[in-house]
């Protein structure tokens, strides 16, 4: 199908984009890579009256290390992060997650900030952001605010972003010495939405395990260093707390089993 008609604006700067967003009101959508939004428009699941295309805004197109973060601007594509030669050293968890994200052709145009703003509960980039305790920078005419990933994701496709705010940047914390990372997921076919995805961060004094695709948002648990049967028991509790539901992709029981097995395996193989 084809999208319903809309007004189209292509601002030249982030400032123009946020002032346009404030003017356009509740019915405006930001268009960046379009790899979620255009599908939704083509299927007419959404019919916004205004699209604000930020894909060519030069001051939003950057990927750089800043302090202890890898900062990714709203117009930077997933491909531009994935093909960064230093990514494995900078954010190893992201380097492990990228091959699971949809397909090469989608990552070429899709943006990192767009995936975070879309907040699909099975998406890999929000999951990695939560596991690493990353941050989201929101910008509007009122100024900027920085929101922790744990506070940003609020439910199925729901975030802490207000209607007049642009997800201007996401910040993935850089790898730390003595910390090990692992990402894995299960989906029906390669590139499909995850039935269950896990991200493990193993520190000398504790473990963080984040799970996507099971609850209505990515969820994380932290434990002080556990192993053996104690760790299995903790992951089992976590699996039950996620409130898995049956749907046409998988049963709740299968999802809990995936959390237990993928979760434990990720912790064990974290590198």
């Amino acid at each position: 199908m084809k999208p319903q008609a809309f007004d189209y604006a292509r601002p030249d700067s982030a400032e123009e984009a946020v002032s346009m967003l404030a003017q356009a009101g509740d019915d405006a959508r930001i268009l960046a890579g379009g790899q979620s939004l255009m599908a939704v428009l083509n299927l007419r699941l959404a019919q916004p009256s205004v699209l604000i295309d930020i894909s060519r805004v030069p001051d939003l197109n950057y990927v750089r290390t800043e302090g202890r973060h890898l900062a990714i601007g709203a117009a930077a594509t997933q491909g531009s992060v994935e093909w960064r030669s230093s990514l494995k050293q900078e954010v190893p968890l992201l380097a492990q997650a990228f091959p699971h994200i949809s397909h090469f052709q989608i990552r070429n145009r899709g943006t990192v900030c767009g995936s975070v703003a879309h907040a699909d509960p099975s998406a890999e980039l929000p999951l990695a952001l939560l596991a690493l305790e990353g941050e989201v920078v929101l910008r509007s005419g009122r100024g900027r605010r920085v929101v922790a990933a744990a506070d940003f994701f609020q439910g199925m496709l729901m975030t802490a972003r207000a209607q007049d705010e642009l997800v201007e940047e996401v910040r993935y914390p850089l790898a730390q010495a003595n910390v090990r990372y692992a990402f894995d997921e299960f989906s029906g076919r390669h590139g499909d939405f995850a039935v269950c995805a896990v991200a493990a961060v193993v520190k000398p004094d504790g473990i963080r395990l984040a799970v996507g695709g099971v609850s209505d948002r990515p969820v994380v648990r932290s434990w002080s260093r556990l192993d053996g049967a104690d760790l299995d028991a903790a992951i089992n509790d976590f699996a039950w707390e996620l409130g898995a539901k049956d749907d046409h992709h998988a049963s709740a029981k299968f999802r809990r089993q995936l959390v237990r097995h993928l979760g434990r395996a990720a912790i064990d193989k974290a590198i």
Partner: protein, 192 residues
């Protein structure tokens, strides 16, 4: 700032396969439809229109992407390459196209235009891919005729040729990512 109202009919310009072209569209016109209906470049095929099948893949400023999930106005001023331009610098078919023909890597041909464009971008970035990497790249395309084996062969053969390696050595065993005893399989067994 550039703005187009929803009922405007606008003229946009882009470079299609090296040639400056222009045509009219609305803000909501998809690039795939603009190429086919306005510019007459029907080599690019349209399948699912939500990014799953890969038939409409074109290269925008050298980067492979879905033309059904790109607005025509987003490609304004860009260099768009489609299957029609693959052999613009050679007599006959390009090396990639010849490899597809040699290996019977297409049957009905509906998916082929998109696959060729993906391969064109991918082989430039990764000139010596493993079979697993080629299959990962091809996962963004649906082909219902070939079963993919011959497509994989054609892509690996093209890479080998460009690197000056003999044919036939291309399909080396590569099992990365296909382990059969990982936690997933175990989980499946337990819940079965």
């Amino acid at each position: 700032m550039k703005t187009y109202r929803k009922d405007d009919v606008v003229r946009i310009q882009l470079v299609l396969n090296g040639q400056q072209r222009s045509g009219t569209c609305e803000s909501r016109t998809l690039l795939s439809d603009f190429l086919r209906h306005e510019l007459g470049a029907t080599g690019t095929h349209v399948g699912c229109e939500h990014g799953v099948c890969g038939a409409c893949t074109v290269n925008i400023d050298g980067v492979a992407g879905r033309s059904c999930m790109t607005l025509a106005v987003q490609a304004e001023g860009c260099e768009v390459d489609t299957v029609e331009g693959l052999n613009k610098d050679v007599e006959g078919l390009s090396d990639l196209q010849q490899a597809f023909r040699r290996n019977h890597a297409l049957q009905c041909g509906f998916c082929t235009a998109g696959i060729l464009m993906s391969c064109t971008d991918y082989l430039q970035r990764n000139p010596d891919p493993t079979e697993h990497e080629v299959r990962e790249m091809l996962s963004g395309h649906l082909c219902r005729c070939t079963g993919y084996t011959n497509i994989v062969k054609a892509v690996l053969e093209t890479a080998a040729e460009r690197l000056g390696r003999p044919h036939g050595a291309a399909l080396a065993p590569d099992t990365a990512g296909h382990a059969g005893t990982g936690p997933l399989e175990q989980a499946r067994l337990v819940t079965a």
